[in-house]
């Protein structure tokens, strides 16, 4: 797979190159391809994409996200998932037996839950579910929000970045695709995790970030780097 040194592109900027196909974050007009977003140009497999540097979270089926209950109905809860649209969680998609009208016994307004995006229709209406392994209501711990565009960097290739952090800090960490990160552990370890997350968010574009984070944490935890 070809990789090139990436440049920051702006909306409307032409993306030149022989035989390229328009990928995500781009649009085509008059036979040419242009960036549709502020982002980093990423050419791979004959397709040119623009990886966003900023912006809201757009739900994709299968994403694990952390939502907050903002409304309750007789048979569902409405969640804010840091997207342009709130997402309903139906009682039937919860792990509990919920009687009609009894939703309040299980989740209250303000509660945080780890859910998965079940479906997104053409009108961008989103449904989520809590019925997968590992999905649950979050208690205790601490919540940190990062720009959704930085989540891939925080996770790393095949989870390498977040694994590195977990190895040192021994914290439980859930990284939601919507930019919300839940951390639980000893207070000093949680604090170290939050620090590292902020660092990653600020320097998401630098190469060699994983190794640098590793050294940083190694020094913090006084192990040989």
């Amino acid at each position: 797979m070809e990789r090139e040194t990436r440049e920051v592109v702006i909306p409307g900027q032409p993306l030149e190159g022989p035989g390229l196909r328009p990928g995500s974050g781009t649009y085509s007009a008059g036979g040419r391809i242009f960036a549709a977003l502020l982002g980093i140009r990423d050419d791979r497999g004959g397709e040119v994409n623009v990886i966003p540097l900023a912006g809201r979270y757009f739900p994709i089926v299968g994403d694990a996200v952390i939502g907050q209950v903002i409304e309750m109905g007789v048979g569902h809860w409405l969640l804010d998932i840091n997207a342009p649209y709130p997402a309903p969680l139906h009682a039937t998609e919860s792990p509990w037996e919920v009687e009609y009208g009894d939703t309040g016994s299980f989740l209250g307004i303000g509660d945080l839950v780890l859910v998965e995006v079940l479906s997104v229709d053409e009108n961008r209406r989103v449904q989520v579910t809590m019925q997968r392994e590992g999905l649950e209501r979050l208690e205790g711990g601490q919540l940190v929000t990062v720009a959704p565009a930085k989540v891939p960097r925080l996770i790393g290739k095949k989870g390498s970045m977040v694994s590195t952090i977990k190895n040192y800090t021994k914290c439980r960490i859930f990284v939601g695709q919507n930019g919300r990160v839940w951390i639980d552990g000893k207070p000093e370890d949680v604090a170290a995790t939050v620090e590292v997350i902020r660092l990653i968010e600020r320097f998401a574009q630098a190469v060699g970030l994983t190794e640098t984070v590793d050294r940083y944490l190694a020094h913090k935890y006084r192990r040989s780097g």
Binding site: D80, G110, L112, Q142
Partner: protein, 256 residues
């Protein structure tokens, strides 16, 4: 995140506070770093932009000529208004000034007026006919907690840099005469912990709030308790002592 504060956030902040720790590492009686930029707006007779931590407030002072109020013919006029600009937070709504905006404007105004920071008599040009009219306009640009203090520091800093334009009177410009420098220090009460200069998350879960404004002699010039919670008397006394101490350091920055 939405304006709703989760129980998780509330309990994690309270747990840390019980151990004497604040999210940004500050001590309970420590304000955030204060940065002031004076004279940014040239169309205003005085202006100052203040960053209290990430809270960003701009104040412009406009001075014009006008008639005094009939019951105070020898006194200039001072009006303070505040705008919680929608750009500063997703929670600020369009429309006429909210109750919060009005409260901020009035508390800042009281601090300045009651301390006689500006000698209103010195603003009189022709008794009963012509006086200086001062407008203090508070513009909140980025909301991260504690607008009372940020707005009051910006207002004072703007006043220290204000120049009365003499052109229309055929005289020289002269700096606005300031006699005192009131400084407000706001504390928030969460459970039984009292902390100074609440940041956004702390303010969101605060039960009660107390703003104490003191002058350069440490005397109290204004006070405002807010939100539905309550304070014990000794807590109020502590808040006053903190305001005197913290206020001193802040006064130096404002007067620079």
């Amino acid at each position: 995140m939405s304006e709703l504060v989760s129980e998780l956030l509330r309990s994690s902040i309270k747990k840390e506070l019980a151990a004497g720790r604040r999210a940004d590492g500050r001590a309970l009686d420590e304000p955030r770093p204060l940065r002031i930029q004076k004279g940014l707006v040239k169309t205003a007779e005085g202006s100052a932009r203040v960053w209290l931590g990430d809270t960003d407030v701009l104040v412009g002072v406009k001075a014009g000529l006008g008639e005094p109020y009939p019951d105070t013919p020898n006194s200039g006029v001072l009006t303070t208004s505040a705008e919680l600009n929608q750009m500063a937070s997703p929670t600020f709504e369009a429309g006429p000034p909210s109750a919060e905006a009005i409260e901020i404007a009035r508390v800042v105004d009281r601090g300045i007026r009651e301390s006689k920071a500006v000698d209103m008599g010195k603003l009189c040009i022709v008794p009963g006919e012509k006086v200086w009219v001062l407008f203090i306009d508070i513009h909140v640009l980025d909301y991260h907690g504690n607008l009372f203090d940020a707005a009051s520091y910006a207002a004072m800093a703007a006043l220290t840099s204000a120049v009365l334009p003499g052109g229309k009177l055929g005289i020289d410009d002269k700096p606005l005469p300031l006699d005192h420098t009131p400084v407000s220090v706001t504390a928030a009460k969460i459970g039984s912990t009292i902390l100074v200069d609440p940041a956004l998350d702390e303010e969101a879960i605060a039960d009660a709030r107390l703003t104490v404004t003191t002058d350069e002699n440490g005397d109290i010039r204004a006070m405002q308790k807010g939100l539905n919670g309550s304070f014990k008397f000794d807590e109020v006394q502590k808040a006053i002592a903190t305001s005197q101490r913290v206020g001193k350091a802040i006064r130096e920055i404002i007067l620079k």
